[in-house]
C-alpha cells in the first residue's frame, strides 16, 4: 500500500513539472491550453489518489476530490478555448479556419 502511494505521488509530481514546461514552451494559446490542462489533470488524479492510498481512512474524501477535478478541469479548458477564440487570439501556422464562417453565419442570423 505504501509503495503504491509513493509511486503515484512521484508520477503526479513529474506530470505537474511537464505541465508547467508545456505552458512555457508551446507556441500559441490553444497548444498551451492542451498541454497545461491534460498534464495537470493526470498529475492531480495521480497525486490525490496517492495520498489517499497512503492513509486509507482518507480514501473516500480523496476520491470525491478526484471526481470533482476530473469533471471541472475539461469544462474550464473548453470555456477558456472558446473565450480565447472569440477574443481573437492568433493561431500558429494556421492554414484554414473552419470556425470563422460558422461564427459569421451565426452573427448574421442573430442580426436578422
Amino acid at each position: 500500500m505504501k509503495v503504491i502511494g509513493d509511486v503515484l505521488i512521484i508520477i503526479g509530481g513529474i506530470f505537474y513539472l511537464l505541465g508547467g514546461l508545456g505552458i512555457f514552451r508551446m507556441p500559441d494559446v490553444f497548444n498551451r491550453i492542451q498541454a497545461g490542462t491534460k498534464a495537470t489533470t493526470l498529475g492531480a488524479f495521480s497525486l490525490i489518489l496517492g495520498v489517499g492510498f497512503l492513509n486509507p481512512s482518507w480514501l473516500l474524501k480523496s476520491i470525491i476530490l478526484v471526481i470533482f477535478m476530473t469533471i471541472t478541469n475539461p469544462v474550464g479548458s473548453s470555456v477558456l478555448a472558446r473565450a480565447s477564440y472569440l477574443h481573437g487570439a492568433k493561431i500558429a501556422k494556421l492554414q484554414k479556419d473552419d470556425l470563422k464562417s460558422l461564427y459569421e453565419k451565426e452573427e448574421m442570423s442573430q442580426n436578422d
Binding site: 505537474y16 505541465g19 505552458i23 490525490i48 476530490l65 477535478m69 478541469n73 470555456v79 472569440l86
Partner: protein, 83 residues
C-alpha cells in the same frame, strides 16, 4: 523524503507557469497560466495534508478547487462578452 522531491518538482512547474504569466503576450495566456497554477496549488494543499497528518487540509483543497473553477469560468465569460 519523497515529499521534498515532489515539492521541488511542483515548484519548478509553478516557476515556469509564473514566467509565462509575466511574459505572456495576450491576456488569455495569463488566464491559462493562472488556471494551471490553481491545479498545482490544489496538489500542494493535498501534499501538505500528508506532511502534517491532518485531514482538514483535504476539505480546504475541495473548497479551493470550487473557487478556482468559478474564477476561470467568470474570467473567460467576461473576456468573451468584452471582445
Amino acid at each position: 523524503m519523497i515529499e521534498i522531491i515532489v515539492f521541488s518538482l511542483i515548484g519548478i512547474g509553478v516557476f515556469f507557469s509564473v514566467l509565462r504569466m509575466i511574459i505572456g503576450p495576450e491576456v488569455t495566456d495569463r488566464i491559462v497560466s493562472l488556471d494551471t497554477m490553481n491545479v498545482m496549488i490544489t496538489g500542494v494543499i493535498v501534499l501538505l495534508s500528508q506532511v502534517f497528518k491532518n485531514e482538514i487540509y483535504l476539505d480546504i483543497a475541495i473548497v479551493y478547487g470550487v473557487l478556482s473553477f468559478l474564477e476561470t469560468v467568470v474570467l473567460s465569460r467576461y473576456l468573451e462578452a468584452k471582445k
